[in-house]
């Protein structure tokens, strides 16, 4: 907000804002009051308004139809850039994956080799122990399987057979 509404305060920006109706109503009214009484500012204001009208007279322009048709003709004969559609979008991902793998292999090569924590004899002993345990587990499983099979057989085959034999024997002994 200027201290006074006179020629010295009406700078270029204020003048253009006034011409483009970009000032508040009270400030605009005060400036217009000054402009009406000052010939110099009136001339400047008129030229600002004239500029606004002239710029408003510039219109958007449509391109000649030949331009679009030429482009459409050229694009119709153009080969696709990418042979596989869709691969183009994946290319950065593939590249990043490749870089990652290369870096990983380099890091693995450069990584210091750790000293083994156990001696060879200890490893062999552990291996034998594991093999023994596995063998024992295998035997237990075989026995269990046999027992289960035996139980199932007895329940589903032997017992019904027994019952049918007893029934048949009773029938025969009753003289039927």
């Amino acid at each position: 907000m200027p201290k006074s509404y006179d020629c010295s305060s009406l700078n270029e920006q204020l003048l253009m804002r006034l011409a483009y109706r970009d000032l508040g109503p009270i400030a605009a009214w005060r400036w217009h009051r000054h402009i009406r009484s000052c010939a110099s500012c009136q001339r400047r204001f008129e030229s600002a308004q004239m500029t606004r009208r002239a710029v408003a007279g510039l219109r958007p322009v449509s391109p000649p139809s030949g331009v679009v048709e030429r482009v459409m003709g050229k694009t119709a004969g153009r080969p696709r850039r990418s042979l596989r559609p869709g691969l183009g979008t994946l290319r950065p991902v593939l590249l990043a994956a490749l870089v990652f793998l290369v870096l990983l292999s380099i890091m693995n090569e450069r990584a210091p080799q750790k000293a083994p924590a156990y001696s060879e004899a200890q490893v062999q002993e552990s291996r034998r122990e594991i093999e023994r345990t596995l063998g024992m587990l295998g035997r237990i499983m075989t026995r269990t399987r046999k027992a289960v099979t035996q139980e199932v057989l007895s329940e589903r085959v032997v017992e019904p057979m027994k019952k049918s034999v007893i029934t048949a024997f009773k029938t025969v002994s009753n003289g039927g």
Partner: protein, 175 residues
């Protein structure tokens, strides 16, 4: 097929923007046609890489860059009269060449003397009716800079217009 359809849709939507900007920025119809054609061809080449919602921004940025290149390449001299002859509608009305069209000629030639960014902001705001926010996004400048550039461009045009009118008045007095 889908690509062609999308391309056609984008061209139909943005062709006027591209040509208008190029025309007022370069100040030459032939250059504007070249720029328009180049933008469209580049759009076709990069269509698969451009995301669905960002095609407009891509087009505006490419147009602007090509216009700057075109202006830098251009070495031939054109007088203000030749420039004014190309203004759309300026000479359409032979009965009365109005004050408005005469002023438009002066403004059109004055436009060519503005710095690139000032000219861009003025074209986008005054002729292409873009918002401050759209302009600042397009030119990648802060919102306040957009407003400052616009005021400077308008002031420069006013000064040039005043000088031209003053000169014409002086010439008339001499005659």
């Amino acid at each position: 097929m889908i690509k062609t359809h999308r391309f056609r849709t984008l061209i139909d939507k943005h062709k006027e923007w591209i040509f208008t900007y190029a025309f007022y920025f370069t100040g030459d119809r032939a250059d504007a046609e070249d720029v328009t054609q180049e933008v469209m061809l580049r759009l076709w080449q990069h269509l698969e890489k451009i995301r669905l919602g960002s095609a407009g921004a891509w087009i505006r940025k490419t147009t602007r860059n090509l216009c700057i290149d075109s202006r830098r390449r251009r070495i031939r001299y054109r007088s203000d009269t030749e420039l004014a002859d190309q203004i759309p509608g300026a000479l359409d009305d032979p009965i009365d060449r109005t004050q408005s069209s005469m002023l438009s000629e002066v403004i059109y030639s004055a436009l060519q003397h503005l710095p690139d960014k000032h000219r861009s902001v003025l074209i986008m705001r005054e002729i292409q009716d873009m918002s401050y926010r759209e302009i600042s996004a397009c030119l990648n400048i802060p919102l306040n800079s957009t407003k400052v550039f616009l005021w400077r461009a308008r002031s420069a045009l006013r000064r040039r217009l005043s000088e031209t009118l003053k000169r014409e008045l002086q010439d008339a007095e001499i005659v």
